[in-house]
């Protein structure tokens, strides 16, 4: 990770699922070394954008990594470039042990290196032999993030990491995300939990019906009245 990280520039991105137009031409810039949040309601096209970036869905448009176009690269080739998606709904391998999940994450690496993961998630070291499906919800989410970290990401794409978790756990996940970013990993965070995302991210995009409705630095967006009313339940802070 010594070479300089390039920014990711997504331009005019469109995603179709059969007749459904999920993403209708969005432009997103992901600055290297920062946390970029993508916010919005259900069905706004956030996850589709993230999957398109990881190569998991077909799309129209252009994605640049540094100076290089990556549109033609398949999913596993993008993982080699350091773009790693941590899927929604935890998406761990339920029948496999925690260790096997982590090893699957490290598939591309010659030698699996657990140190970063154990440092970030000490609990997983104790659970290595346990079947992943029997972990608690929070632990499953941590495993999902840990597994993505095993792939040595330079860009970590997190899809709804706070989904269905208790507030205490959500705060923990938020701290973890900040720490991962401190290690020099660029984070793209898709969230419905607007206040969480705006508080930890540097820059944010708000999606509505497959388009970018607003964007700006997270601090500004937190202060903006419209955002506060629409997405933060009008709470004055």
């Amino acid at each position: 990770m010594t070479d300089k990280l390039g920014d990711i520039v997504i331009s005019k991105l469109q995603v179709w699922y059969g007749p459904i137009h999920a993403v209708k031409g969005v432009d997103v810039k992901i600055e290297a070394g920062k946390i970029t949040a993508i916010l919005g309601a259900n069905g706004a096209g956030k996850s589709s954008t993230l999957k398109a970036l990881a190569g998991g869905v077909k799309y129209i448009g252009n994605i640049l990594l540094g100076n290089e176009t990556i549109d033609k690269l398949s999913v596993h080739k993008r993982v080699e470039k350091g773009i790693v998606l941590c899927p929604e709904g935890r998406g761990i391998f339920y029948t496999m042990s925690v260790k096997e999940n982590l090893l699957a994450g490290a598939y591309r690496n010659k030698k699996p290196d657990f140190s970063l993961v154990f440092e970030t998630f000490p609990i997983l070291r104790e659970r290595l032999k346990q079947t992943a499906g029997t972990l608690s919800g929070g632990e499953q989410q941590m495993l999902a993030i840990a597994r993505a970290l095993m792939s040595n990401p330079r860009y970590l794409l997190l899809d709804e990491p706070s989904l269905g978790l208790a507030p205490v756990i959500v705060n923990k996940i938020a701290e973890v995300i900040k720490r991962i970013n401190d290690f020099g990993i660029t984070v793209v965070l898709v969230e419905q939990n607007t206040s969480l995302a705006l508080n930890i991210s540097h820059y944010a995009y708000i999606f509505e019906n497959g388009k970018v409705a607003a964007s700006g630095s997270s601090k500004e967006l937190l202060r903006s009245d419209i955002i506060r009313e629409k997405y933060l339940g009008g709470a004055k802070r």
Partner: protein, 292 residues
């Protein structure tokens, strides 16, 4: 009785081998391969042909045949199934049906319907054990089948549990999309599962050939019984496939011996129905424990 069970285990071990191949392809690619038996049949013909016509040593012929089988598996998966993967599993099933008929037709066209004899891999007088329990006869052929099954089961166990590629195979079989996000090349894993499956079919064909002779329908019965064995075992785990096959072999032998030889096939179909009614996940299917 002991001899009956032993004979049953020996046939059962063959069903287990069939089931292992079926389960590998099903687990990873999600397709039940109906052409399995005929793929094995076709490869056995090729092995028979290169060894008897080209005078190649039998064992070298078998090794060549198994490599060709792997190649056949890879090409069928890559060019027959992957292009329609995004459609439905139904359409992939139809492709395997098509291959079943094509291979049978080809075999009849090229080699005719005459039965061809295939040399025994092992021969010689059976081992006979005498003791208080009576007399036990163990044929060399049985030992070959048991040894093959044991080696393959052990290899699969080690492979899926302790190798990186094996873990990737399990990851793909559990969730293809997410396995892709881990950097696993899903396509190569799919191809591998078919290469392995068809190689198993060829291996079964070679072991069965001396007994059933080489003919276009030589493995049809094994295919059905292997499928039953896999259903018995739950179609998900290799242990299920192995034990499902062994149990089925013993049941079949006992039915044949004590009730009627003609009921063998009927009984196995009744077993499929009963298992599906009472144990929808198979006798060895695991209920995945998970919290939500």
């Amino acid at each position: 009785m002991i001899n009956q069970i032993l004979l049953g285990l020996s046939t059962g071990a063959m069903y287990s081998l069939v089931a292992i191949g079926l389960v590998m392809m099903y687990k990873v690619s999600g397709v039940m391969n109906f052409a399995y038996g005929n793929m094995g049949m076709f490869m056995t013909y090729i092995i028979w042909w290169i060894t008897s016509m080209l005078n190649i040593n039998l064992y070298i012929g078998i090794i060549i045949g198994i490599f060709l089988a792997a190649f056949m598996g890879i090409s069928v998966e890559r060019f027959g199934l992957r292009p329609i993967r995004h459609l439905s599993h139904g359409s992939m099933l139809i492709v395997t049906f098509g291959i079943l008929m094509i291979l049978e037709g080809l075999a009849v066209q090229i080699w005719g319907t005459e039965y061809k004899s295939f040399p025994e891999l092992v021969s010689g007088t059976p081992f006979v054990f005498k003791g208080e329990f009576g007399v036990i006869v163990l044929r060399k052929q049985d030992i070959l089948v048991f040894v093959t099954l044991t080696i393959i089961s052990l290899l699969i166990f080690i492979f899926t549990k302790y190798t990186k590629f094996g873990i990737a195979v399990r990851a793909v079989s559990e969730n293809e999309e997410i396995a892709g996000y881990m950097g696993i090349n899903v396509g190569s894993i799919l191809a591998f599962s078919w290469a392995f499956g068809v190689s198993m079919a060829a291996l079964v064909g070679v072991i069965a050939a001396p007994k059933v002779f080489v003919s276009p329908v030589m493995l049809t019965f094994y295919q059905i019984q292997g499928f039953t064995a896999a259903v018995l075992g739950g179609f998900e785990t290799f242990a299920g496939a192995v034990f499902g096959g062994l149990i089925l072999g013993v049941i079949e032998k006992l039915v044949g011996n004590y009730i009627s030889e003609g009921f063998k096939a009927t009984i196995s179909l009744i077993i499929i129905i009963l298992v599906l009614i009472f144990f929808p996940k198979g006798l060895f299917g695991r209920n995945v424990r998970r919290r939500v």
